[in-house]
């Protein structure tokens, strides 16, 4: 007996090992696979882990956030890390913390790894490691998924992921958080002569006295320009469209002021410059310098790069970009052609694109309509169009708000990841979106609270917005819903819309074009002109029923939502604190009153008393407060007055009550005996 027990245990252990090793070699199943352990993948991992879901995060590198080990090349993050806000409210502080991920640990914030306003890039993987460790997220490193396909089975659609060891992972839901890392290239004659941002030298000395042409005018282009500005002789930047400044467009993907030194040197005519042209039409050609024979007889050969245009190239079929004549160059035709001088280097800084190559046709999301098709096309709830159960997270999901909001950036997609998770919880686990049930009299306060602190709608302006479901004397507050999916609200969130309608609280910038953002009249303070606000301000849309998909599609240009039944703008505020009784609160209250069709004013108990006696029902505030014995007493009234009111009624009754037949006389005795000793008023 004694000996057989260990044998038995051993047998079991072997059996276990066997079955687990089988898994190792062939397939492992998880309900959720997250592809990529970057900020988006880990953010989703946190939500899955918190909801105790069966998930795994697959990462081909050996640590999280490996993109940040290389990029940005010049090692400075331009996402702001504002530690000091003067506020304690953690939600509010996230409005100015662009690097932290969301979690329920109040101190798991990026400021723990760096206190620099523009932090070094190395801090980011550090932060992510900390995030993984402290939250105990399940990440498998070194798993390089090379092929993804979908199969339809009886139990539904499944995704099969195959790694470099041909191991398969199957999952019901695939969350693609691979980011964008394939350098974007454009083919033109001579594009092979161009260096890429991903491989250029970051040592400014290497550019000493060189003329540099940078293709692109985004932040990576300017970052590069900025680093070589001091050493290069000329820095020219070429792209199809003029520079867009983030502080003018309010789009953080446009040129940030932190990188824009070259604008100065251009405008002050210091040999740098910006030029517009379509990149498909340019040609980069190489010509040997007219080398002079030097005294030692050696020929110093230096190759220079010239910019030309398609149409100037003779015999295009035959020409090789390195064999050109003067007739192939624009300066031959136009002697003041701006880029007539040769360059030492041409650098491509055109950004990155999504890696579509690992997706089998059964699982491949389409190319987005915008962003030159560099991104996967997704629905308003970030599911790949045509790939149910496959969701795209993080930067790759930016096609929804490309060039408008912050969905391509950590401080934006940390919220969309949460929204996607809520969609999953509702769809696969029947957990409705979290909501707060409120008395309608508390609604005003909650709206003010949210617009005063909420970071999601603030960062993801015009994309995520709070939805208030009106239900008469009560309402339900649903936070951070992706508003482009509003027509599908009921099925996505699990909340029904009543016939009282709904209000959507959006934060948005003004739609006016050509605003001089440093000029006069850039901001308004008159609440009645709030619709002309230029800066981020709250806008409330009231609908009596959900807008349809058709209405969503046909909404006016530039509008975040279709035309509502009523709209309310809260005037932009210099401090983004919308709590002024006259300018912010009263107009908002009147709008809410219009939506809920009832008086929402507050009344002191004395007024409620009057209304309760002279009306069948007093106003809502009295109904929900005073009638529940929680009236508000005007504290400006005197103490004396209350004391009187409290004392007087009892005096009238002393000693006047008649015989109470319901009570047997022993109680009278009891009273008597006690009162004789206690002098009680029995």
């Amino acid at each position: 007996m004694d000996s057989s027990l260990p044998c038995f245990l051993l047998f079991i252990l072997i059996g276990c090992l066997k079955c687990s090793s089988e898994n190792e070699n062939n397939t492992r199943h998880h309900d959720y696979c997250v592809l990529g352990a970057g900020p988006a993948g880990l953010q989703m991992g946190y939500f899955l882990s918190k909801a105790k879901r069966d998930y795994v995060i697959l990462e081909r590198n050996s640590g999280p956030g490996s993109f940040f080990n290389k990029y940005p090349r010049h090692r400075k993050l331009i996402s702001i890390n504002k530690i000091h806000t003067g506020r304690q409210n953690p939600e509010f502080n996230l409005r100015h913390d662009w690097n932290s991920l969301l979690s329920d640990k109040p101190d798991l914030l990026f400021k723990r790894v760096s206190n620099e306003f523009y932090p070094p890039a190395d801090a980011y993987p550090l932060y992510l490691s900390m995030f993984v460790e402290e939250l105990g997220l399940k990440v498998r490193y070194g798993v390089d998924i090379g092929r993804i396909r979908a199969v339809q089975s009886d139990t539904g659609r499944r995704y099969i992921l195959t790694d470099q060891h041909t191991s398969d992972y199957t999952c019901s839901v695939l969350l693609v958080a691979t980011g964008l890392w394939v350098p974007q290239k454009i083919e033109f004659v001579g594009s092979d002569l161009v260096e890429g941002y991903e491989s250029i030298s970051t040592n400014p000395e290497d550019y000493k006295n060189q003329a540099i042409l940078i293709l692109g005018k985004g932040n990576s282009a300017f970052e590069t320009a900025q680093s070589i500005l001091e050493k290069a002789s000329h820095v020219h930047m070429l792209s199809p469209s003029p520079v867009r400044l983030a502080w003018q467009t309010h789009y953080v993907g446009d040129l940030r002021a932190v990188n824009n030194d070259l604008l100065d040197t251009y405008q002050l005519k210091s040999l740098d410059g910006l030029v517009e042209a379509r990149l498909e039409k340019i040609v980069i050609v190489q010509r040997k310098e007219q080398a002079k024979k030097r005294s030692d007889g050696k020929k110093k050969e230096k190759k220079k790069l010239y910019l030309s245009l398609n149409k100037y190239i003779q015999n295009q079929e035959e020409k090789n970009s390195s064999e050109v004549t003067g007739e192939d160059l624009p300066s031959f035709y136009s002697d003041n052609f701006s880029m007539r001088k040769p360059y030492d280097r041409v650098i491509r800084c055109l950004g990155f694109k999504f890696n579509f190559s690992v997706f089998d046709s059964s699982a491949c999301p389409p190319h987005s309509d915008n962003a030159k098709g560099r991104l996967p096309g997704v629905t308003a709830w970030y599911e790949g169009t045509g790939t149910p159960g496959l969701f795209v997270l993080g930067t790759a999901a930016h096609s929804r708000d490309y060039r408008t909001s912050a969905g391509g950036f950590i401080h934006g997609f940390r919220y969309t990841a949460r929204a996607v998770h809520r969609v999953l919880e509702q769809r696969y686990h029947n957990n409705r979106w979290p909501s707060t049930k409120l008395l309608t009299t508390q609604l005003l306060s909650w709206v003010l609270k949210r617009i005063g602190e909420a970071s999601g709608p603030y960062q993801m302006f015009e994309v995520l917005a709070d939805v208030i479901l009106l239900r008469g004397s009560q309402c339900e507050y649903v936070e951070e819903f992706p508003i482009q999916a509003l027509p599908q609200f009921s099925s996505l969130s699990g909340h029904e819309i009543s016939n009282h309608g709904l209000i959507v609280v959006v934060l948005q910038y003004g739609k006016k074009k050509n605003v001089d953002y440093l000029g006069r009249n850039r901001a308004h303070s008159d609440w009645s002109k709030a619709n002309e606000s230029n800066f981020l301000h709250p806008v409330l849309y009231y609908y009596d029923k959900l807008p349809t998909e058709e209405e969503m599609k046909l909404r006016p240009k530039g509008w975040a939502l279709p035309r509502p039944k009523a709209i309310h703008h809260i005037v932009e505020d210099f401090l983004t604190e919308w709590d002024g009784p006259v300018s912010h609160i009263q107009p908002l209250r009147r709008f809410l009153e219009h939506c809920v069709k009832t008086d929402l004013r507050n009344f002191y108990a004395e007024s409620c008393f009057r209304f309760s006696l002279t009306y069948r029902k007093p106003p809502l505030f009295c109904q929900q407060g005073y009638l529940k014995q929680q009236g508000v007493v005007d504290s400006s009234q005197l103490w004396q007055h209350f004391d009187d009111a409290g004392l007087m009624p009892s005096e009238h009754d002393s000693g006047t009550s008649g015989e109470d037949s319901a009570f047997p006389n022993y109680l009278a005795q009891a009273g008597a005996s006690v009162s004789s000793g206690l002098k009680l008023d029995f």
Partner: protein, 841 residues
């Protein structure tokens, strides 16, 4: 046209009266009637004011001189004035008797209409005023209280505007002017005279300092500025000039003038106001098409404030005739300064207002004026009474020294250090929170004073507040550390929680006021239930007075053993009653002893309501809810005095309310009368038995509960004499019945009256207000504004877009080859179709 004629006539009449009377007096002799004349005139039904002269004393001759002078004045109102010389012939009964010596008589429709003591008709002014007042007796109302006024406003709403006059003393020139005007305009406006006191207070005027005044109440047209606390009040305009007939007349004319006139001419070519406004300044504001709607709103707002002071014109700048330079936004023209226009650039409405009120202040030097003005401005600003009172107080920072600010960091330590911590969770932008914070601080200060005197460390109550704008995690009950937060997330603000170490939080569910909260805190200090283990403890439980002068309700549970099944529901019930009721638990030996002493069967729960001499015994329930229901029922007073604080608990019974309104007692007799009335009601409740079951008999003391005054006024549309008995809140309908005023309130007749109401043979005296509370003020319709703006700017916007394209091309031209760029832009003209390659992705 006819109304114009009528106005002209009225002006003429008034002009004659005010201007001409004194000079004319000398020329006309007082008509002396013979007895036959008198009888003849009397029978013809003419209105006559006659003095029957018996003797000639200096006083009488003086009066006769005045009477003579008034003859002419009164003639215009169709009143003949004369005297009869009783020494020549006797007209009975007027030529005999003491009374006739000191009385002048008014005859109307062949009868004596009224007699005036010569003390009240002593000069022309008093004669004209009193005679007209008598004639207009039916049309001019006297109002004594604000509730009366409110009722009048309610009646007049939608029908007539009200002219409200306060005449400092009767028989004066002012009184006469008021009456003369009432005579002319009586059918057009409702004239009301007030006697000072509470009504003046409502109008924001200090009785001691005020001279005679007139207000115009715009009741006919519903004002857009129903921004006062309740929309029942009519917007009012005060006449700022001294009360004379002419001023009053032009004031009334101005009230009829259009609020805002819109013109398309330059102010310089707009004619000076013509008759009857020629004495009125003109103010011009300017409007542009883009902001027309808003400009009109602004103009209307200002016009309301300038009403009676100036006429407002809105000039449309888009008209080519308007030449005023853009830098000016206001122009005005004063009547005395010929046609000279002044142009100004002002930044807010108050500055315009100052132009005219400043002058007025110079003229009148009225002390209360500034206060009045400021008050008005604020009223138009905020229409929420709590928000308004908090806003008005914004200059004074609350003194937070007496309370501890709790944060996520110090929360646990703070709660652990005191046996009772009372916490207010507030949002700083929430008006109710701010108002309650004020009360909360008062309670804290009061408790601190009390605790200082007692120096009782154990029972120290800690008063704390959490600013939920900052400490959101604490308010959401999210525990950052290891210790759990002892309450649920706070979703309603303000909330008051009572925290004790190691216990879950208790929500304060009472009135959010100083007194109620203070009482609750003191009442909740003893354990609930208090475990009574000695005779002394029982005695002290029954005697204890946690708050001086306050009689608490008590509940005592008596059980054989501590483990009795009834103990746990009792304890649970006691917990939920903590703060409202004192509860005690008596078990084991002492319980048995007590039961034996008082011959009670155990277990039992005794309820000692504060108002009752005998305790009520309840059987022990198996559930806490059941027990609570019984306890609460036993605590309910059978004939409560309704107060602001306790009304909700009685309304929740859902019974019809039979309310006796009694006035404030001025003396002991009044007090006794009131007490007798309440006794009679008690008798009614007792004798009525089941017949009284559907009704809750109760009473309201208007002295202690002044809010009851306007309730009564609104019930009956006027203020009845007190006491008044009213039946309202019938489950069957909204009718309000008033017990016949002249019938003494006796149990039997009240019962009969109730029966008649049940039989539907009584006529209701009023009805309850509608159930719905639509928003009091319209919202600012941004959608409409945006639509108008879009319509206005449609063409320019298109141009703008074209411009933009041009600009882009121009840029390209500058830096690259022309043809190249024209090419590219023509192949893909829309910038959106030509996404750019750069990105920070």
């Amino acid at each position: 046209m006819s109304s114009m004629m009528w106005t002209c006539f009225a002006v003429f009449l008034l002009w004659m009266r005010s201007g001409g009377c004194t000079e004319k007096a000398n020329t006309s002799d007082l008509i002396e009637y013979t007895a036959a004349d008198f009888i003849d005139k009397l029978q013809s039904g003419k209105t006559m004011f006659v003095y029957f002269q018996h003797q000639v004393t200096p006083t009488i001759s003086l009066f006769l001189a005045e009477l003579e002078m008034s003859a002419d004045a009164l003639q215009d109102y169709g009143v003949m004035v004369g005297k009869v010389n009783c020494n020549k012939e006797q007209v009975q009964p007027y030529c005999t008797g003491e009374r006739a010596l000191h009385t002048a008589f008014l005859f109307r429709a062949g009868k004596e209409f009224s007699g005036f003591d010569l003390d009240t008709v002593f000069d022309v002014n008093s004669i004209v005023a009193e005679v007209l007042f008598a004639i207009l007796r039916e049309e001019i109302r006297y109002v004594h209280t604000d509730a009366d006024l409110l009722a009048m406003e309610k009646t007049a709403r939608g029908k007539k505007d009200i002219v409200l006059g306060y005449v400092r003393s009767l028989g004066t020139q002012e009184h006469r002017s008021m009456m003369a005007t009432a005579y002319v305009y009586g059918s057009k406006y409702q004239f009301i005279l007030i006697t000072g006191g509470p009504v003046l207070e409502h109008l924001g005027v200090d009785e001691r300092s005020v001279s005679s005044q007139v207000w115009f109440l715009h009741c006919r047209v519903r004002s857009v500025f129903t921004t006062q606390t309740s929309s029942e009040r009519c917007h009012l305009t005060r006449m700022r000039k001294p009360l004379t007939t002419l001023n009053l007349h032009s004031f009334l004319q101005l009230m009829e003038a259009p609020l805002v006139s819109e013109v398309y001419d330059d102010p310089s070519s707009v004619q000076a106001p013509h008759f009857p406004y020629q004495q009125t300044p003109q103010v011009f504001l300017f409007s542009r098409p883009a902001t027309e709607h808003l400009d009109r709103d602004t103009a209307t707002t200002l016009a309301w404030r300038l009403r009676g002071l100036a006429l407002l014109m809105l000039v449309h700048r888009q008209s080519p005739a308007v030449k005023t330079p853009d830098e000016y936004n206001v122009a005005y023209r004063l009547p005395e300064k010929s046609l000279e226009l002044k142009y100004l650039t002002l930044h807010d409405l108050d500055e315009v207002l100052e132009l005219f009120t400043y002058q007025e202040k110079e003229e009148e030097e009225e002390k209360y004026d500034a206060y009045d003005e400021e008050n008005d401005a604020i009223f138009e600003l905020l229409d929420d009474e709590i928000a308004l009172s908090v806003y008005e107080n914004r200059g004074n920072m609350l003194d937070m020294d007496s309370i501890t600010q709790l944060t996520s960091e110090n929360f646990h330590a703070a709660v652990a250090q005191s046996s009772l911590t009372v916490v207010l969770f507030y949002l700083k932008w929430d008006a109710v929170s701010e108002a309650v914070l004020g009360s909360f601080i008062e309670v804290a200060e009061k408790l601190a004073d009390e605790q200082e005197s007692k120096a009782d460390v154990d029972s120290t109550v800690q008063m704390c507040a959490v600013n939920c704008v900052e400490w959101t995690d604490l308010c959401a009950a999210q525990s950052g550390g290891s210790l759990p937060i002892p309450f649920q997330p706070i979703t309603a603000f303000p909330s008051v929680l009572l925290l004790r170490p190691q216990e879950s939080a208790q929500h304060y569910k009472g009135m959010l006021g100083t007194q109620a909260l203070h009482r609750f805190i003191l009442m909740s200090r003893p354990a609930s239930p208090a475990l009574l283990s000695t005779q002394e403890e029982v005695i002290s439980f029954l005697q204890e007075v946690p708050l001086p002068g306050y009689k608490p309700d008590r509940v005592l549970g008596v059980f054989e053993t501590q483990t009795h099944t009834g103990v746990s529901p009792f304890t649970e019930a006691a917990k939920s009653l903590r703060g409202e009721v004192l509860t005690g638990l008596l078990t084991d030996g002492l319980a048995e002893k007590w039961a034996a002493e008082h011959t009670v069967d155990l277990p039992a729960v005794f309820v000692f309501p504060s108002w009752r001499t005998h305790p009520a015994t309840l059987s022990v329930s198996t559930s806490a809810e059941g027990l609570l229901t019984h306890i609460n029922a036993a605590l309910l007073h059978p004939l409560p005095e309704l107060t602001v604080e306790n009304l909700p608990s009685f309304l929740s019974l859902g019974k019809a309310l039979l309310i006796l309104f009694v006035g404030e007692e001025e003396d002991e007799i009044g007090q006794r009368q009131n007490q007798a009335l309440v006794e009679e009601m008690r008798g009614l409740v007792e004798s009525g038995g089941w017949r009284m079951e559907p009704y809750l008999a109760c009473w309201i003391h208007l002295g202690r509960t002044p809010a009851g005054m306007s309730v009564l006024g609104l019930y009956l549309n006027s203020m009845p004499p007190l006491p008044a008995l009213v039946l309202t809140h019938l489950p069957s309908g909204d009718e309000i019945y008033q017990y016949p005023q002249n019938t003494p309130i006796m149990a039997s007749s009240v019962l009969q009256w109730l029966q008649r109401i049940e039989d539907s043979t009584e006529t209701p005296a009023g009805t309850l207000g509608e159930n719905s509370w639509p928003p009091a003020v319209d919202f600012h319709d941004f959608l409409k504004i945006m639509d108008t703006q879009e319509a206005d700017s449609h063409t320019p916007e298109e141009e703008e877009e074209e411009e933009e394209v041009d600009e882009e091309e121009a840029n390209m031209e500058e830096d690259l080859v022309v043809e190249e760029e024209t090419d590219s832009s023509s192949s893909s003209p829309a910038p959106d179709n030509n996404p750019n390659t750069h990105s920070e992705l």
